[in-house]
Subunit: 351 residues, 2 copies
């Protein structure tokens, strides 16, 4: 779990003060990895740079990659004689995951892909701070950083992945475009449905998942003031992330991983594309999801898998079925009997 | 926040494995501070002692005191040449608060009373693990350790107070006597009512407080299976503690502090004694509380303040009104105009 968190509209302005005692000396910079959406925007001026701190704008157009982590780490190592004082990730799930991975790799030798898996990180990561500017992924609270590697899309799941400090300032999500707001929020909603309907569920995850689900319903189905809605979605993301940290996601996430891997489809929209066709597994969840789509007039892309070859479907199916823990959580120990490659391909063909 | 937590029936058996990598060497013991309720009980055999580890049974009959902390710290320092590997607190709020304070004072010079207040601790505490055996206080998750000092009852509130690791095993609460179960659970319920009705409330605390309150209602007003009830009350305590960590408690806690200070009344029952008379401030909360009292056939002690002198009442009132943040949270910035010493004494006289 994240040991330090501050919450509140405007709390971002406390960042300078938070980082100050963590500065080892004036040659040990803070590296800020920031979504390039904010380049040339007023917000970028509020980032509290000091000494030789560096601000690196990163595109979040694509899912974060192991190679991208390795390049960032090399660049930082080459540029500074001293180890940085820390890494600050500012953005959505992509930026937050990248910053977590960079902080790990700055203190652990080798390539990012070597650490994809469970508890493969042996040394504590560099001090790192996460600041979400879009709500839903739960990346700000989770103990994983999901990366697209040369062979797989898989998280670096470890105790050292988790942020040392998180700043939750709902005002930072004001500028999120509507569709992205929806898709990323649905990432949280789908987390909750998967976690609450999973066989791994326990009272810890359940209590977080239920609260996150309730907040998602308030945000996406009720008419509440905008600032309250931003507050609530930020807390939904937080609790949703906590819920899956101690249980697991399920079918939508497993299948969405395939779409990301083969087609580069971003996680949030990928989850939505899959989830709409999972009514036989999550009937109530899909019903709510349809209501949310209607209320916010969201048209999901169609025929995404219409022109794929059999070889493409084989890749999708293999990547998805490779996420064994997710399937076991969703369907129980006998999941292989329930979800055959044929059945899975048939669902992909609807997308 | 607590950086590491495990949850689940039977999870206590993982404690040995959790402590192993934290053992600096075989001369640096773990000191287990355990509620003496468990002395000569089977549970004590399950505590994973190794090398020169020490198990100290401590009575939880009285509220924890600064002097008690100082004595424990001196004893440990005299007995071992090496600094211990860590402190493990096992018990209810008293034991959990004691263990937190001992871990702080083993790494910070001076007396416990010097650290009562906000952020007075300058050095990280010794590694410390908290294991609740009764649910409700939230001491397992909070950043304070409330101690009765020579001059005041006040918390050592700091980032270093929080446990490094918590083990939430609902099975450990099986042996709690019914009245204690009720009074300690009500500590959580009253936290929630105070936090949710406070002026300091924000969306972060609100989401935790609402979940904790919902779980309390399930536990104390519904008829659910015993194991589910233990799970839920343990999570209620956790979320309730998180809620007040980022907001504040209110009138019942301020007044209960007075009762503890003057009469040595334990925190849980003290809260109940006060709360029953707070219907003008928390009408819905007190109504629910009365239903819970009835359902569980709890008779609160009567005439507790019947034979006090005016001097005694002055002490009660002064201690309670000294908790300024609690009153401001409950009644707003103008609280002094609302809660006069006379009005407060009149409430104490009902108890």
């Amino acid at each position: 779990m994240v040991p330090r968190v501050i919450f509140g509209q405007g709390s971002f302005d406390q960042l300078g003060e938070i980082l100050l005692p963590k500065r080892r000396n004036s040659d040990a910079p803070f590296i800020f990895l920031v979504d390039d959406f904010f380049e040339n925007r007023e917000f970028a001026q509020r980032i509290p740079l000091m000494f030789n701190d560096e601000l690196i704008f990163v595109s979040a157009e694509e899912e974060p990659k192991t190679e991208q982590v390795d390049i960032l780490v090399s660049r930082i190592k080459e540029r500074y004689e001293e180890q940085p004082s820390g890494i600050v990730g500012i953005g959505g799930g992509t930026l937050l995951d990248l910053a977590k991975a960079v902080a790990i790799l700055l203190n652990n030798n080798g390539l990012a892909q070597e650490y994809q898996g469970w508890d493969l990180v042996s040394k504590p990561s560099l001090y790192h701070v996460g600041i979400p500017t879009i709500s839903g992924t739960g990346a700000e609270v989770s103990r994983t950083t999901v990366l697209l590697g040369p062979e797989k899309k898989l998280g670096i799941n470890s105790d050292y992945t988790t942020y040392d400090q998180v700043v939750l300032d709902p005002d930072l999500t004001k500028t999120v475009p509507k569709e992205q707001w929806f898709y990323t929020g649905m990432d949280c909603f789908i987390h909750c449905i998967e976690s609450l309907n999973g066989t791994y569920l326990n009272a810890f995850s359940e209590s977080y998942g239920e609260k996150a689900l309730e907040l998602c319903k308030d945000v996406f189905l009720e008419d509440i003031p905008e600032d309250e809605s931003r507050d609530k979605l930020m807390m939904a993301s937080w609790h949703g992330g906590m819920s899956i940290a101690y249980s697991q996601v399920g079918i939508a996430h497993a299948m969405s991983y395939g779409l990301s891997y083969l087609l580069g489809i971003k996680h949030g929209i990928g989850n939505c594309l899959v989830f709409q066709h999972l009514d036989e597994f999550y009937p109530k969840g899909v019903e709510l999801f349809q209501k949310m789509l209607e209320k916010h007039k969201i048209d999901l892309p169609k025929e995404v898998c219409a022109h794929l070859t059999q070889n493409d479907f084989d890749i999708l199916v293999n990547v998805a079925l490779g996420m064994e823990a997710l399937w076991e959580n969703a369907l129980g120990k006998e999941w292989k009997k329930i979800m055959t490659p044929e059945r899975l391909q048939a669902i992909y063909q609807k997308i």
